[in-house]
């Protein structure tokens, strides 16, 4: 049994050590907001925060995050940056199919938690690992800027 700290709660999980955190969240803990897109850290749909850092859960073995603080999209709205991002996502009508947006929101929330006034280059750097096949990128950029203004 592994003991995890997920969204501020202690949780016990009976999973093999090599199981990616993504599948522990989705299949064992039924936190399905975090999405499976590629399994190779190429698309960012599975992004969660590990001790505050945006991390691709699809390639992170669960054994590597025991004892660390794991935050998922289901709870990121309880942080100041996370709430600002989610509000901006609605205000700018960012999501289309929506499947990648959990990961986009987590990457954006981590960016704004660390950088209150990101430039376009900062946004490119923080968000280039998150693919959106609906190409909502112009609205993601606008929403990050809107969220930054609301946090100022």
């Amino acid at each position: 049994m592994l003991s995890l700290n997920v969204n501020g709660k202690r949780m016990s999980v009976d999973a093999e050590n090599d199981t990616p955190l993504l599948w522990v969240l989705r299949d064992h803990l039924e936190l399905t907001g975090t999405k499976f897109g590629c399994g190779m850290s190429l698309c960012g749909a599975c992004t969660v925060h590990i001790d505050g850092a945006p991390t691709r859960s699809c390639v992170t073995p669960v054994s590597a995050v025991a004892g660390k603080k794991i935050v998922t999209v289901e709870k990121i709205g309880e942080t100041r940056a996370g709430k600002a991002v989610q509000d901006a996502w609605s205000a700018e009508n960012v999501p289309q199919c929506g499947y990648c947006q959990s990961g986009q929101v987590m990457s954006a929330a981590a960016l704004l938690a660390a950088n209150k006034q990101p430039s376009d280059a900062d946004i490119d750097k923080a968000m280039a690992g998150n693919i959106c096949r609906c190409a909502t990128y112009p609205r993601i950029r606008a929403a990050i800027k809107r969220a930054a203004r609301s946090l100022a």
Binding site: D27, M40, V73
Partner: protein, 725 residues
């Protein structure tokens, strides 16, 4: 000449005759002249599309899949408009599979989403549904307040007469006892409250906090996840397999072979994906490859080029193109190459199935209900009405989830049957499984020849298209493939809008063993590129302005012309640009929507950058300008991914790509600035999900031609040594 109308008729006929699922229209429980009958607390359900609860929620039942294109916002807008609801009380809900109520009106009796028809076919239907509900709420208020119905007003979800006021929720129970009106009057456009305004998306919040449920998220009690081993080549058959190593993986529950009309293989089932995947990866299998497809993309292209110089089936013939080419002052010719393309939606294909003795229940982002019901029924030995489909959000599709063979849906049902229906099954494909499962946009090769007279006027146009048929071998073949012409292979070419007196379009349809399917904007994905790029090559060679050349040829096509002129004006077409900068344009109609784009590029050492894209669209009445702009941006981004780097290639029959490292797609740092302008129109609305996609690649290629003086004759650009800075 092939038009969109003929396509609709084809599908209508295909649904009725081939699938044998015709159901009369009038099976709804409520109807004109009848009352619904209800008691207090029961929601008011005036028709199949509207449900008003005592808590004042207006639920709009949406018959079309929400896969990003905005159906859960656009269709409720139509109801809210005529109902005079308040937008904040609107909730969207996916319709069940029931073609008697929820058929696509452009497809006859079949239920499904595609061809950018969702809003277009629902425009009057849902407005009438809203107006009928409104009339019944008014009748209930009139009875309650003993006032003439004509004096009762409805606005923003409040019904009022003088000082008396009631919410929809308060009147719902009484409204249910009113007669459903025989006929309803729809609003004049000048009275629209929501149509033409940017109502916010109904699904934005749920899709930002992880609560929106996709097929991938379905979990039923006792459910097993199935991960499959498919053959390495299309057409191969499972000969034998050794399950021992898969079964040795702790947690693997079942290892079963399966076979469907589309494919075959071995499924490994476990309580969770990771265990099932480890089991699948441990499997060893042998395949009978006697019927397998073993060509490579280069060999396919060589064969297509050989075919292109011979006569094909005629898709359009006006005048005598051959004679005009022979006697011309000057002629031009070019060939254009297009690779196979994968849809690569963010959510890999997946499907949940619970198989019982009397019914089969499916959880899926359902794009093709009528076909999936029939195909699943066949696979599990039931009647279509025993197959219940639960509609979920789709994490993209771009056409992939409307598979005419129901490939992955039938695969899930077949695996559920193979384990004796002992547990609900969720089939989950990995990204690699998804990318290698086929059903690609076909590969094509086009040749074009044209002639101009001494004044530089176009006198002849000869277009030959070579590529696989999407519809052959599907339930739609008998109706949509006529005299050797698959309508989807030539759309956008056979209906070329330009006034050229001698015009011929021919088609060759080779049969090869690569499964193919429609891909966002279907035939226009390649025909728009070939026609618009060739025209620019002629403009350049004859020293004509690409805009003026098109304007002169579009006298009889005012909607193409107006879109083009709007885009050109907004982009500053003709205004001088600095050194190392250039513009290109293209215009194209698909699904009765007219899109023009101007792309501005700049040279960056050996590569280039897209500085700006200006897009003009005429989609009739603009129901939600915000959704329209989103779909233009999305279509441009999707088309750019394909133009820049999209290619599925085969080597000895094996697909060479597997994931986003070798099938790269556009990312935020590469996405250009996009401005969208809507051509004002009072025409009936047409779709916006697809028509922006085919225009971006030719507009970009034409900008590169202007920048570098070299035409682009093969996609993707990455294979031509051209890359974004």
């Amino acid at each position: 000449m092939i038009t969109n109308e003929s396509r609709r008729d084809f599908i209508k006929a295909a649904g009725a005759l081939t699938l044998g699922v015709f159901v009369p229209q009038s099976m709804a429980q409520s109807g004109p002249g009848r009352t619904i009958g209800a008691f207090a607390g029961t929601p008011f359900t005036p028709n199949a599309f509207v449900r008003i609860s005592s808590d004042n929620t207006v639920t709009v039942i949406v018959k079309h899949l929400e896969m990003g294109q905005g159906t859960y916002t656009g269709l409720p807008t139509l109801v809210a408009e005529e109902l005079d609801a308040d937008w904040s009380q609107i909730v969207a809900e996916g319709a069940p599979a029931d073609a008697s109520k929820y058929n696509n009106l452009f497809w006859g009796p079949a239920q499904g989403t595609g061809g950018s028809t969702a809003l277009a076919n629902s425009y009057e239907q849902l407005r009438k549904a809203g107006a009928a509900a409104r009339a019944m709420l008014i009748a209930a208020a009139a009875e309650k307040w003993k006032a003439p119905p004509s004096e009762i007003r409805v606005a923003k979800g409040i019904v009022s007469h003088g000082t008396q006021k009631a919410t929809f929720g308060e009147l719902a129970a009484d409204a249910a006892n009113q007669k459903v009106p025989e006929d309803v009057k729809l609003k004049d456009a000048k009275d629209f409250v929501y149509i033409g305004k940017p109502a916010p998306r109904t699904d934005a919040r749920a899709k930002s906090n992880g609560s929106a449920i996709f097929t991938q998220d379905v979990k039923l009690p006792g459910m097993l996840t199935a991960v499959v081993l498919h053959p390495p080549r299309f057409g191969a058959k499972l000969k034998s397999f050794d399950a021992a190593k898969a079964k040795a993986v702790k947690g693997v529950v079942e290892v079963v072979p399966f076979s469907t009309p589309a494919t075959n293989g071995v499924a490994v089932l476990a309580k969770d994906y990771w265990t099932a995947k480890k089991g699948r990866d441990a499997l060893s299998a042998e395949w009978d490859e006697t019927g397998a497809f073993r060509l490579g993309s280069a060999e396919i292209l060589a064969e297509y080029k050989r075919l292109a110089v011979t006569r094909g089936a005629s898709a359009r013939k006006e005048g005598d193109a051959d004679a005009a080419l022979q006697s011309a002052a000057r002629t031009f010719e070019a060939g254009y190459e297009f690779p196979h393309l994968g849809h690569a939606s963010m959510e890999p294909m997946n499907c949940g199935v619970q198989l019982g003795s009397e019914s089969c229940e499916v959880w899926n982002g359902e794009e093709f209900q009528t076909v999936d019901q029939a195909m699943v029924a066949q696979a599990v030995g039931m009647k279509p009405e025993q197959v219940k489909l639960n509609q979920l959000y789709a994490g993209g599709s771009f056409g992939r989830r409307a598979n005419p063979h129901s490939d992955y849906v039938v695969e899930a049902a077949t695996i559920a049957k193979a384990i004796g229906a002992r547990a609900p099954v969720k089939l989950v494909w990995s990204r690699e499984d998804d990318m290698r499962a086929g059903y690609y946009r076909p590969m094509y090769y086009h040749t074009l020849e044209a002639a101009v007279d001494a004044q530089g006027k176009l006198t002849a146009w000869r277009h030959v298209i070579v590529g696989q048929s999407i519809l052959t071998g599907t339930p739609f073949e008998s109706m949509m493939v006529k005299e050797g012409i698959d309508a989807t292979s030539v759309e956008g070419a056979a209906n070329l809008p330009y006034a050229i007196p001698n015009l011929a379009v021919d088609l060759h349809t080779p049969k090869i063993g690569v499964p193919v399917q429609w891909w966002r904007s279907v035939g226009s994905t390649h025909t728009a590129f070939a026609t618009e790029c060739f025209l620019d090559e002629i403009a350049r060679a004859t020293k004509k302005d690409p805009l003026e050349l098109r304007r002169a040829l579009l006298a009889k096509h005012p909607r193409h012309k107006a879109a083009l002129e709007l885009a050109a004006a907004k982009a500053g077409w003709g205004k001088p640009l600095g050194q190392g900068r250039a513009r290109g344009l293209a215009v194209h109609e698909s699904f009765n929507t007219f899109v023009a784009q101007v792309v501005e590029v700049s040279r960056r050492q050996s590569s280039f950058r897209i500085e700006r894209v200006v897009c003009a669209v005429d989609c009739g009445v603009a129901v939600n300008p915000n959704i329209i702009a989103m779909q233009m941006e999305s279509g441009i981004g999707y088309g750019l991914s394909a133009a820049l780097s999209g290619a599925i290639t085969l080597k000895d029959g094996v697909v060479e790509q597997s994931n986003f490292h070798d099938y790269p797609v556009i990312r935020i740092n590469q996405m250009p600035r996009i401005e969208t302008y809507i051509v004002p129109s009072s025409e009936k609305p047409s779709g916006v999900g697809e028509p922006a996609t085919p225009v971006i690649a030719p507009a970009l290629a034409n900008a590169l031609l202007a920048l570098n003086g070299k035409p682009v004759r093969a996609l993707p650009l990455s294979n031509q040594g051209i890359a974004l800075a």
